[in-house]
Structure formats: C-alpha cells, structure tokens
C-alpha cells in the first residue's frame, strides 16, 4: 500500500485502504453497494491525518484550491446525461 504523509497514520490508513479495496472491488464495482461500509475506519484515519494537515497548513491550501474550483467541481459532478 502507498505510504501516508504522516508515518503515525500508516497503520490506520492501511486498515482503511484494505477495507476500501475489498468494498470497492466486491460491492461497488458490481453495482451492489448500498452504503460506504468503510466509513467508520475512514473517520479514524481522517482523525489521525487531520492533525498533520492542520499543523503543516495543508488543510488551508486544500480548502483554497477547492473553493477556487467550486464552479468547476459543480460542473465535474453534475449528471452527464
């Protein structure tokens, strides 16, 4: 698995990534997904990572980038047909 930006989050990231890959290939790709089953693990991973993103000011950069592209995002996400 790819490494996390924050080494202290590697373990919780790996647990989440494994869960996601299983869900993605066994449920999502077969159109059989009803909920994101890995969300509880994602929350743990997010909690670990958010501290580092905040400390390094990355969350601010991400927020700005996403605000800059909000219109673009709306375009990106709208139904294609």
């Amino acid at each position: 698995m790819s490494a996390s930006l924050a080494p202290e989050c590697n373990q919780v990231k790996e647990r989440y990534d494994n869960c996601f890959l299983k869900w993605y290939s066994e449920k999502f790709l077969r159109g059989a997904a009803t909920t994101d089953e890995c969300d509880p693990l994602f929350k743990q991973y997010e909690k670990c990572l958010s501290k580092v993103l905040n400390d390094r000011g990355i969350d601010k950069m991400v927020k700005e980038a996403r605000e800059d592209n909000r219109e673009n995002d709306a375009e990106h996400l709208k139904p294609k047909r």
Binding site: S2, S25, E26, F28, M61, V62
Partner: protein, 284 residues
C-alpha cells in the same frame, strides 16, 4: 497564455480493473518520486452509485535549472540543486453504471508561478452489438470480472478472465498549464500608482526583476518549460498504470498489493526499480 496537451489511449483491460488500478497506481516502478498518497475525502452516493474521492499526493521533484535561473530561489522554496517537494490534489468520480471515471489532478503550491491541471477520463466503450446479445455478454463479462477482481484470488484463473473477454477501456488525457507569475505584483503596482497605500518596501526588488523580462515573456517561458516536462512525464504515467494492470492480471488484487509492497521497500532503500533505466526520482 495557456499551454495545452492532450492525447487518447486504449488500455486492453476492462473498465472496472482500470478504475481500481487508478486508485492503486502509486507506488509503481515508474513513480518512485511519489512519497505518499492519502485519501482526504470520500463520498458514496447510493442513489447515483457514484463514488467521489479526494486524495493528496506528495511528490519529490527537481525544478529544471531553466526555472531556477528564471525565478529567485527564495520564491520557489527549493534547495540550491532545485530539489523540492510538492503536494498534488487529485479528485475523481467513478460511475460504474454508466461506465466512466473522471479524474483531475492539480498542484497545490506555487499555482501563481505555474498551475498544472491534469485531467483523465476513462470510459467503457459502448459495445457495437444488439441489445439482447449485449445483456448476455454483460452478464458473462460481470462473472469474469468477478474472478479478475477477486480480493483473495490467486493467479490461476484470473488471467483467463482478462485475456478471453477482450474488454478495453478508452482514456482521454489533457494537461493545462497556466502561469500567473507577476500578475499580483502588477496589480499591486497599479494600485500603488492610483494613490492607494500599498506596501512600498516589498516592491522595488520584484518589480526590477520582472521588468528585466517582461511579465508575458516570463509566463510564456515558464509554461513552455512546464509543457516540456509534461511531454516527458506522460509516457511514465502510462507505463506505471500498465505495470499495475499487468500485476492485477497476473495475481489479482493480492498481486498488486504485493508489487506495491516491494516497490515501497525498494524506494525506502533507495534502490532503482528500473534496472536498465536511469533513476526516475527526478521525473514529474
């Protein structure tokens, strides 16, 4: 002035496999410069069956000497040799029902100097067969994909799934490069000349430096350098995806994860993963 690159390609792999490979493309032997990959947001919409993912990659890069010569190092935050790190924000939406994956990656820092937006759209080709046959083939295809993507699957049988069904995935790639360098300073200068109180002390040096080039010429040059790097890095990105897909065909998901583990170890030990090639650490 905006520079633009675009290309199309077809992967000889089914659409679901390509989307999975996209999520699993780092690390691979062609991407040893990618230090980390984190998922920072993910949303599944059960009504549309769409999955939206936002990831953050940290890449090691080397600024071309042409750029370090053009811009003061203090502005770029790089070492004397041009070594630096950069964050890339990647957004993707997968619609498995309609058979497309729309992805976009952009640099987070120095977007004023050069903003690079890379977009890739993967599509399951529309089959050229009557509906009744399509339904039958679709079911058969799904069964094969099942084997192909089996989480715990071993190599045996998995290979058959891909080679026999002959499914392909189309990909459209584009890269847009845009430099805004000098524009904020120019605005500040205009504001200053209109008599508003702007910070005088930071202007003389930057204005002098820009005047020697001309803002437009500087932007054009930076975009040109960015485009050259894009042209050079695109084949590596493609090769990286192919390695991941090949591993998937040989050993399923387990095979991909095993390959990633080995690549990550090799990167940590500073070994070159491409035995015959030059080191890729400084590639975009």
């Amino acid at each position: 002035m905006v520079k633009f690159y675009s290309s199309t390609d077809t992967y000889p792999y089914p659409f679901p496999a390509v989307t999975l490979a996209y999520f699993l493309r780092y690390p691979n032997p062609y991407s040893t410069h990618v230090i980390s990959t984190d998922t920072i947001a993910r949303h599944f919409d059960p009504d549309t069956q769409r999955l939206t993912t936002i990831r953050l990659h940290l890449k090691r890069s080397k600024l071309p000497s042409a750029v370090t010569k053009l811009l003061p190092r203090s502005l770029l935050g790089a070492s004397a040799t041009g070594d630096t790190q950069s964050y890339i924000l990647e957004k993707s939406v997968v619609d498995v029902k309609e058979g497309w994956m729309d992805t976009e990656s952009r640099n987070l820092e120095w977007t004023g100097v050069l903003s690079v937006v890379e977009r890739q759209i993967f599509r399951r080709p529309v089959p050229d067969v009557p509906d009744n046959i399509k339904v039958f083939q679709g079911m058969e295809g799904a069964a094969r994909r099942h084997g192909f993507l089996n989480f715990g699957g071993s190599g045996a049988g998995v290979k058959v799934g891909v080679d026999l069904n002959g499914e392909t995935t189309d990909v459209e790639s584009s890269v847009t490069l845009h430099s805004h360098v000098g524009e904020t300073w120019r605005k500040k200068r205009l504001a200053a000349s209109e008599g508003s109180s702007s910070s005088e002390e930071e202007q003389p040096q930057k204005v002098g430096f820009l005047r020697s080039w001309g803002t437009a010429a500087l932007q054009r040059n930076i975009e040109k350098i960015g485009l050259t790097r894009t042209l050079r890095s695109q084949p590596n990105a493609r090769e990286g995806m192919k390695v991941v897909l090949e591993r998937m065909r040989e050993g399923g998901l387990v095979g991909v994860l095993e390959g990633m583990r080995k690549d990550r170890e090799a990167i940590l030990q500073g070994r070159d993963l491409l035995k015959d090639g030059p080191t890729r650490a400084d590639e975009e």
